[in-house]
């Protein structure tokens, strides 16, 4: 095909040092290897900023800058200064500022300096306790004339399950505008409960404020995470694991009120730590609802959704039809057709539909947590229980009346035009999927409002689902047999891959959106090896997927932060 299928790892002067920094055996290696001692000294110097720097939620005139100060001894207050420049050496200074932090904020620092120029790369650095932080790089959004958006999309970064090699590869890409994290940035589990490559801190499931803070701190000490955050602004939403598994408005599968206390209290402390430790801007005056939009000029509208804590109804508990993937449920099951069940809640749904209808942007990119496309499997006993059943009630399948309301808006009506160029970006399920979107893709008759899998006719939009950074998929599907079976029963999927870890690279211009899947070779150990897997694209006005090819990197990207 002439396509590169493998990118050689970048060899740089400090890669060996980086390797040891990333290795859990790093401390032992240092003791055994005197030649590496300077790194130990450097680590000591950077103790104050041991959690790195980060930026996020860029707008055209501001971007959030984040760090965390670790004082040698507890202090009531710490003064932190920051500088923003247009060059990595910080000589062309555009802004200086001062803020403070205290133990009540877990010594985290978050500023939102205003007055920056649009579509501009900036470099920044913090100073506190007589020490300077690493230099970070970030970028503001464009206002007009944007012709290109290039970003990485990640989700499901489970520290215990493996190394964040995908973050490391993303950090090495100098030509990205931003990184979108679609949730499960941290995981709540205790040691050995979900992954044993690395030991979580604390070693038990996080429940209290101290637990959540400690877990965030551990993730922010990861070298690959630090590298990614240092180079790119993040646009993040949470999914469930930032609090606990399969959360909804009033509870979660992995929340036991008897032993873990009040749900709302747990959400409050989990979110307190989240806002302290993440480079995100609170939205809507309600910390449990972080849905927000980012206008990338008139090229794309990034619509980030909240699907867990503000309004989600409880998952259906009516799955009674045995399938190869566990109990499934049918549209005729009790509760299924209840239109009051919601994923977004009325206010967010209204906001989303209004924005889809009115945005001047060519592309509507939905950043959201759970798969929008239908996923069905056949009943195990096709004699007694024939048909296909939804197998994951935690995704949009469990909220079909709510999903159909969005489809109705996309289709348009007598007073509202059809919504074109909808691209849904999704995380959550630790595997890679590309789908045409249709309210009932199982109906093959386009003449009767159905969907034609061969031509894509009838499709109303597309969905790209990125795999996990490290959380496990269906890793036993080494032959692709399971993925193939899923595609057989679900005609709208153009790509299903269940075993690989990595990230998506989205390349957007005015004519098309290309989604590329990039996989790392392992998460069991630090590695720089990544592989291009495949690419699909959607062209302006077509609302359906086509096979695509790897997009070229941008020429002369801004320098990476040192």
């Amino acid at each position: 095909m002439g396509r590169p299928t493998k990118v050689q790892p970048v060899r740089t002067g400090n890669s060996r040092r980086d390797f040891f920094k990333r290795s859990s055996a790093g401390a032992a290696a240092l003791v055994a290897a005197p030649a590496l001692l300077p790194m130990g000294a450097q680590a000591a110097v950077n103790a104050v900023f041991q959690h790195g720097v980060a930026s996020g939620d860029p707008l055209s005139d501001r971007v959030i800058l984040w760090t965390r100060v670790t004082p040698a001894a507890p202090k009531p207050a710490i003064t932190v200064t920051y500088v923003i420049a247009t060059d990595p050496a910080l000589t062309q200074v555009v802004l200086r500022g001062t803020t403070k932090t205290n133990p009540g904020r877990d010594y985290t620092v978050k500023v939102d300096p205003v007055g920056l120029k649009p579509a501009t790369t900036y470099y920044y650095q913090f100073t506190a306790e007589g020490t300077t932080s690493p230099v970070g790089r970030t970028k503001t959004l464009p206002t007009t004339g944007a012709q290109s958006l290039r970003m990485a999309v990640v989700s499901c970064s489970n520290h215990a399950y493996g190394y964040f090699n995908a973050y490391g590869r993303i950090a090495a890409r100098a030509d990205l505008d931003l990184v979108m994290h679609l949730g499960d940035y941290i995981y709540e589990y205790g040691a050995g409960q979900y992954g044993n490559v690395r030991t979580p801190e604390p070693a038990h499931e996080m429940v209290t404020l101290a637990d959540y803070r400690m877990r965030h701190a551990q993730y922010k000490r990861d070298a690959d995470s630090q590298a990614m955050h240092r180079q790119h602004p993040l646009v993040a939403i949470w999914d469930d694991h930032e609090i606990t598994n399969d959360g909804w408005k009033d509870g979660a599968q992995n929340h036991q009120p008897g032993t873990e206390g009040d749900w709302n209290a747990r959400v409050a402390v989990g979110l307190q730590a989240y806002y302290e430790w993440m480079p995100v801007r609170p939205a809507n005056g309600n910390l449990r609802d972080n849905h927000r939009g980012f206008a990338y000029g008139d090229l794309a509208d990034l619509l980030m959704l909240e699907e867990r804590l503000s309004a989600r109804s409880q998952q259906l508990t009516t799955a009674i039809h045995p399938t190869a993937f566990g109990a499934g449920f049918a549209t005729t099951d009790p509760g299924y057709g209840d239109p009051s069940r919601t994923l977004l809640g009325e206010a967010q749904e209204t906001w989303l539909i209004n924005r889809l209808r009115t945005t001047p942007a060519r592309w509507k990119l939905l950043g959201q947590g759970v798969m929008f496309a239908q996923l069905k499997a056949p009943g195990t006993d096709q004699v007694k229980d024939p048909g296909l059943y939804f197998i994951n009630g935690d995704q949009w399948d469990g909220y079909e009346p709510a999903r159909n309301r969005l489809y109705a808006a996309i289709k348009g009506d007598a007073t509202n035009a059809k919504v074109d160029n909808l691209v849904v970006l999704t995380g959550d399920i630790h595997s890679s999927w590309a789908a045409d979107l249709h309210p009932n893709p199982y109906n093959p008759s386009v003449a009767n409002g159905g969907y034609d899998k061969a031509t894509g006719a009838g499709s109303l939009g597309v969905e790209f689902v990125g795999t996990s950074v490290s959380s496990p998929g269906v890793d036993t599907d080494t032959t692709g047999g399971v993925a193939g079976a899923i595609r057989f029963y679900n005609p709208h999927f153009k790509y299903v891959q269940l075993t690989r870890r990595g990230y998506m690279l989205m390349d957007v211009n005015r004519d098309r959106v290309v989604g590329e899947w990039w996989y790392v070779d392992t998460v069991a150990s630090p590695s720089n090896v990544e592989t291009f897997a495949t690419a699909f694209e959607v062209r302006q006005g077509e609302n359906r997927l086509r096979p695509s090819a790897q997009t070229p990197s941008r020429a002369n990207p801004p320098l990476l932060a040192p």
Partner: protein, 191 residues
């Protein structure tokens, strides 16, 4: 007139080395609260705020002056002076070598002094006043959008007497009041 003020001061506080507290409401980001107090020789004086209240109110700082010269300043040392102070409360502690009077300026961080004397002014003096309720103080908590309250409270331990010095507008009111008093007495005398 000087005597009348002294009486007013005494009414506002109490005499002899005592533990006093003063409080009030600041309105704008560059407001300055000026407090005069007197100490006896050898007194250990503690000054601290406890009004920050985890961000309910603005983050205060203190400038201690003697004869117009700034002799000490603090932003966040309140909790070292008294356990009742919060992380961003201010505090100062000193032992007075000789008896005398001091002037204390309480304002919002980071409205820092521009020089070694009060006459040099403060960083925000030239700013158009911004209401504290709508001001993002440099130290505010971005996640909580806090420090929007204007309440301030200062505790003074080991001082003899203390009072808030009225702002120029306050002096004008006082002068007007005194004028009417003297007019009244003159009228009475004329009777």
């Amino acid at each position: 007139m000087r005597q009348l003020i002294a009486i007013a001061l005494l009414a506002a506080t109490s005499a002899q080395a005592a533990d006093l507290s003063l409080s009030g409401q600041a309105v704008n980001h560059n407001d300055k609260v000026v407090i005069d107090f007197q100490v006896a020789a050898g007194s250990t004086v503690s000054l601290w705020t406890d009004s920050w209240q985890s961000g309910l109110n603005f983050d205060p700082q203190l400038f201690l002056t003697r004869s117009g010269a700034i002799v000490n300043a603090d932003d966040d040392g309140g909790s070292f002076v008294n356990a009742g102070a919060g992380y961003f409360d201010a505090g100062l502690q000193f032992t007075a070598a000789a008896a005398g009077s001091y002037r204390l300026v309480l304002n919002a961080a980071s409205n820092d002094a521009l020089g070694a004397s009060l006459g040099d002014g403060f960083a925000y003096d030239g700013d158009t006043p911004i209401a504290l309720a709508s001001w993002n103080q440099p130290s505010y908590d971005f996640n909580a959008d806090d420090q929007k309250g204007g309440f301030w409270r200062l505790h003074l331990s080991g001082v003899e007497q203390a009072a808030v010095v009225p702002e120029p507008a306050g002096w004008a009111l006082l002068a007007a009041g005194l004028l009417s008093l003297s007019l009244l007495s003159r009228t009475r005398r004329q009777r």
